[in-house]
């Protein structure tokens, strides 16, 4: 318990085969250390994120490797050490939360405090219920809670044990942005005092950005990139990471002309007459060239814009328009179809409708040049 405040490092080296998405078998092979604070495990589903967390928590046994917090070894295949899950004191928030349905929130939170005298148990759970703002719900059963309240209850239950590391498996994916932000703030505030390593699994780029002190990108069981959120998510070297990193628009392209004096080059989107002006990059002609553009980086205009710094301006027709939360998603056909994200108020002022004509504006530096391995 006292160890938590000193800030212990979690070190992980694992090899394990696991069943991938399409029942094909993958090999999970990773090695990393996580210092106190948030570390984001970022990757598509089937990349092995959950298997990795299961191994750290002791729910699955790796074929080889070593897992330790500070000097305490949880698993070591060479030394034949394998501590069972109930003796690792790792907090793990399963994706399904797994709140006990037959117990109240208070009973759930107190479940892990079995060794304490009841006065202390009450004090600690009460304090935890307060810091996650669910004290008023203590008498309710999980079935009577909203999604956000359930997340808070599950977090409180995991943290009241003062775990030495915390694993979160896409815990906030289902929540709307405001609730999510508040829970993250509470979690951050809690961790300011405790300083434990928090491994946070997500496949959402926004979440990785919002939380990440450090991001580890995982693909098909391997770490493909790690560093700060900006390093990993903004300048992706590998196409695969870029796709994960939320480029809604990815086009196959061919190089038309390079303009070294301007630092740009012109690329034609395959199967169309559309030319994109993109930043000059070193191109390996033997590899596939693709351009990625984020939907939120594209501007829409109701009439042909003039005197603009942006080099890529195309007329198009809105094929589809739908609202998701506070975001309007438009599919604009300019030859190739672009996905564009705008705010509801922009939709009103531009009077965007299905079938209406619009102009699409993309800055040169919003175009990300990618070269895949294939």
């Amino acid at each position: 318990m006292s160890a938590a405040s000193t800030g212990e490092e979690l070190s992980v080296r694992i090899r394990k085969s696991f069943a991938g998405e399409r029942s094909s078998s993958f090999l999970l092979e990773v090695e990393f250390t996580a210092s106190p604070g948030f570390t984001i495990l970022f990757g598509a589903s089937g990349a092995g994120k959950t298997t990795l967390l299961d191994c750290i928590a002791g729910l699955q046994i790796p074929e080889a490797g070593r897992i330790a917090i500070a000097q305490d070894v949880f698993f070591d295949s060479a030394a034949r050490v394998n501590l069972p899950a109930n003796r690792r004191s790792v907090g793990y928030l399963l994706q399904s939360l797994a709140l006990f349905p037959h117990m109240t929130v208070r009973q759930n939170v107190q479940y892990g405090l079995q060794g304490l005298v009841s006065a202390e148990r009450e004090a600690r759970s009460g304090q935890m219920l307060e810091s996650f703002r669910i004290a008023a719900l203590a008498g309710r059963r999980p079935g009577e809670l909203s999604g956000g309240e359930r997340q808070r209850a599950a977090l409180a239950r995991a943290l009241v044990m003062r775990p030495r590391a915390l694993l979160l498996d896409e815990p906030l994916t289902a929540l709307d942005a405001a609730v999510k932000a508040q829970i993250v703030d509470d979690l951050r505030a809690w961790n300011e005092r405790q300083r434990i390593s928090i491994l946070y699994v997500t496949h959402q780029r926004e979440e990785a950005f919002a939380l990440g002190e450090r991001v580890i990108a995982l693909e098909a069981g391997r770490i493909v990139s790690q560093g700060s959120a900006h390093e990993v998510l903004h300048r992706p070297e590998l196409e695969t990471v870029a796709q994960l990193a939320g480029f809604e628009n990815i086009f196959d392209c061919s190089l038309v002309a390079a303009h070294p004096e301007q630092g740009t080059m012109t690329c034609r989107v395959s199967g169309s007459n559309l030319d994109l002006e993109v930043p000059l990059s070193r191109i390996d002609r033997s590899r596939r060239l693709r351009i990625g553009i984020r939907a939120g980086d594209i501007l829409l205009a109701s009439s042909a814009p003039r005197q603009l710094s942006a080099r890529n301006v195309f007329p198009g027709t809105i094929e589809r328009l739908e609202q998701r939360d506070m975001m309007v998603i438009a599919a604009v056909n300019c030859g190739p179809v672009f996905e564009v994200h705008v705010t509801p108020s922009a939709r009103e002022s531009l009077q965007l409708r299905k079938g209406s004509e619009t102009w699409l504006v993309v800055k040169t530096y919003s175009c990300q040049v990618m070269q895949g391995s294939g």
């Binding site: 928590a57 899950a85 479940y111």
Partner: protein, 225 residues
């Protein structure tokens, strides 16, 4: 006569269902969670009494409990008499015969408990024992109760096995169903009707209680620790 048969029947049913509660829960846990490949073998063995004619089970039990088998001889050496044609022998036979009625609902309801809840319990530091008492048993309670009531009711109505290994000894092995058979053989239809009606009512009340309980009361049972 009917009172004697009724008390005997109830005594038998209570003992059998209690024994099956104690034996059935661990067996059901094992069937629900064991990763063993040969589990199906045990499953088949447990459900055998459902399809087997009671005479088959009764016959082999009679042989096994009698002086021809080592077990029977061993018991005879200790107790001075064989297990066959005694109340104890009846209990053994009934336990085996009602086994699937207790174990199957329990297995189903244990297997239906979300594994993630059991994992969550372990992650919160709980031992297997604690996880069983606090999570698995409360959540599997409907199946446990169903198994208990079904084995009780099934023992009440049992006939063939009792006849085979218990015979028809008043106060020791003559249950209501045997009594009814006796009464019909003696052409005493009025008495047979009374006995049959009693058994019918008893079984109906039990099953009605079981189904009624299933509908609402079980959630409240979760409150006990």
């Amino acid at each position: 006569m009917i009172v004697q048969a009724l008390t005997l029947t109830l005594r038998l049913a209570v003992m059998v269902s209690l024994i099956l509660l104690i034996v059935g829960i661990p067996l059901a846990c094992w069937l629900a969670f064991s990763p063993r490949r040969w589990k199906f073998f045990v499953e088949a063995l447990v459900s055998l009494p459902i399809v087997l004619p009671p005479t088959v089970l009764g016959f082999y039990l009679l042989v096994a409990l009698g002086p021809l088998s080592p077990v029977g001889r061993w018991y005879q050496a200790i107790a001075g008499h064989t297990l066959a044609f005694t109340f104890a022998g009846l209990v053994i036979g009934s336990v085996l015969y009602s086994l699937p009625f207790a174990v199957q609902p329990m297995t189903t309801s244990f297997a239906a408990v979300d594994r993630k809840l059991l994992q969550a319990s372990a992650l919160l530091g709980a031992s297997r024992w604690r996880t069983f008492w606090r999570i698995l048993l409360p959540l599997g309670l409907p199946g446990v109760l169903t198994g208990f009531v079904l084995s009780f009711a099934h023992t009440l109505g049992e006939f063939g096995v009792v006849l085979m290994i218990g015979g028809n000894i008043p106060g020791a092995t003559r249950t209501i169903s045997i009594l009814i058979f006796d009464q019909v053989e003696a052409l005493d239809y009025a008495a047979a009707n009374r006995s049959a009606l009693l058994l019918l009512a008893l079984c109906f009340v039990l099953l009605a209680a079981l189904h009624g309980l299933r509908r609402h009361a079980l959630w409240n049972l979760w409150d006990w620790r």
